[in-house]
């Protein structure tokens, strides 16, 4: 293949990447991989208990780009905020708290995992919302990635699904939201609430087994080709 055709391949792949990324269905995975360490999911009421997280940002001219995340591996709840997301003329405290699920059921499925309340308050205790032009990124860990869950927001009376991306490691999912509040991952479909077992995702044994199988296939192919190449010489 000539270099010119190689450039054509690159061009086609960039178009494909753009289209796939733009029109990725809800819950699709990221392009990035890496080594994922995922401890069992910690359920509210279980032991060990899921961890809350809080961070206070001292008075500043501009609220800094920042993240607040719970202490599990991977974090079960995270919020990422861009610069100037909140009015930082007084100290701002951002808090993530696992809370009991409200009695209202989501319209699009069943809650799996914990419900997390994301809040921000100023020094006088007044609730803050993100600047209208700067939605926050909310990342929650679910229990499974297939079928892909959505993240829903509870506004105090009902749940609403939000366009959700798969954030990768340990069944983590991501949304952007212009509002704080209560969020949970929701498994699509109706029916009784699913039990909330510890752990989640693809068993490590299946991953290791799959990789080992692929490695064996690669070894066989490589050595077969090498032998044929040697015989042809």
């Amino acid at each position: 293949m000539s270099r010119r055709r190689g450039w054509l391949v690159i061009l086609v792949s960039i178009v494909a990447l753009t289209l796939v990324s733009r029109f990725l269905p809800s819950g699709s995975p990221p392009i990035y991989d890496g080594q994922c360490i995922a401890n069992p999911y910690e359920t509210l009421g279980g032991a060990p208990a899921p961890q809350p997280a809080t961070k206070t940002f001292p008075t500043s001219k501009t609220f800094p780009p920042s993240e607040v995340l719970t202490g599990e591996t991977p974090p079960q709840a995270q919020i990422l905020m861009e610069a100037a997301t909140f009015d930082n003329s007084t100290p701002v405290t951002v808090t993530i708290t696992p809370v009991p699920a409200p009695g209202v059921k989501p319209p699009n499925g069943t809650i799996e995992g914990n419900v997390y309340r994301f809040s921000a308050v100023n020094a006088s205790g007044t609730d803050l919302e993100p600047s209208p032009s700067l939605p926050v990124f909310i990342i929650l860990r679910g229990l499974t990635s297939s079928p892909a869950p959505t993240i829903d927001r509870f506004d105090g009376t009902s749940w609403a699904p939000i366009s959700t991306l798969n954030a990768g490691c340990g069944n983590t999912f991501e949304i952007t939201s212009p509002q704080l509040g209560e969020f949970a991952t929701v498994k699509p479909g109706s029916g009784a609430p699913t039990p909330q077992p510890a752990g989640g995702g693809i068993p490590a044994a299946a991953i290791v087994g799959g990789l080992a199988l692929l490695l064996i296939i690669a070894v066989v192919v490589l050595f077969t080709l090498d032998r044929r190449r040697g015989a042809a010489r």
Binding site: I10, S21, I31, G168, A218
Partner: protein, 156 residues
């Protein structure tokens, strides 16, 4: 994390046993790799619907994660678009090698990310394969792959 190191070493051993040896690095390959990594990051930002990013603060987990992820990415490139691509290209030409390695690249990500990862990883594999064809070596796709993978941990 240790499983990643073992996996990477196994891939490098297989590539070495198959006769793969590193070529001489060139500036063009470095530039191509950096541009390819940029394209992969741009696609990720597009999928997020926001181009607002910031760099994660350094912590012990990220400090350990970074070299392991880089090692795995390089090992995948050496094995797939180094040793395997060269052997397949000898027999089936660059086109056949490109198709086979792109399919394999997408397949090895299924155990971790599920079948839904196939479209994106096929496109990413095609881009990395294109870099391999244009640069005639593994350095450009390896740089692009490392940049893209590290972005997943360092850019928020």
């Amino acid at each position: 994390m240790p499983a990643g190191v073992v996996f990477a070493i196994a891939l490098l051993a297989v590539a070495s046993a198959a006769g793969w040896r590193p070529g001489r690095p060139g500036l063009m390959a470095v530039g191509l790799g950096a541009a390819g990594g940029g394209a992969l990051i741009a696609a990720w930002l597009l999928s997020r619907g926001s181009f607002g990013i910031h760099v994660a603060s350094l912590n012990a987990g990220l400090a350990l994660w970074t070299p392991v992820v880089a090692l795995v990415a390089v090992a995948e490139e050496v094995a797939i678009r180094g040793a395997l691509f060269t052997m397949l290209a000898d027999r089936y030409g660059d086109g056949g090698a490109l198709v086979a390695t792109t399919l394999l690249f997408a397949a090895i990500h299924v155990p971790l990310y599920g079948v839904g990862s196939l479209p994106l990883d096929l496109a990413a594999g095609l881009l990395l394969g294109g870099l391999r064809v244009v640069s005639r070596g593994v350095l450009a796709p390896a740089i692009a792959h490392v940049i893209a993978d590290l972005a997943g941990g360092w850019l928020l």
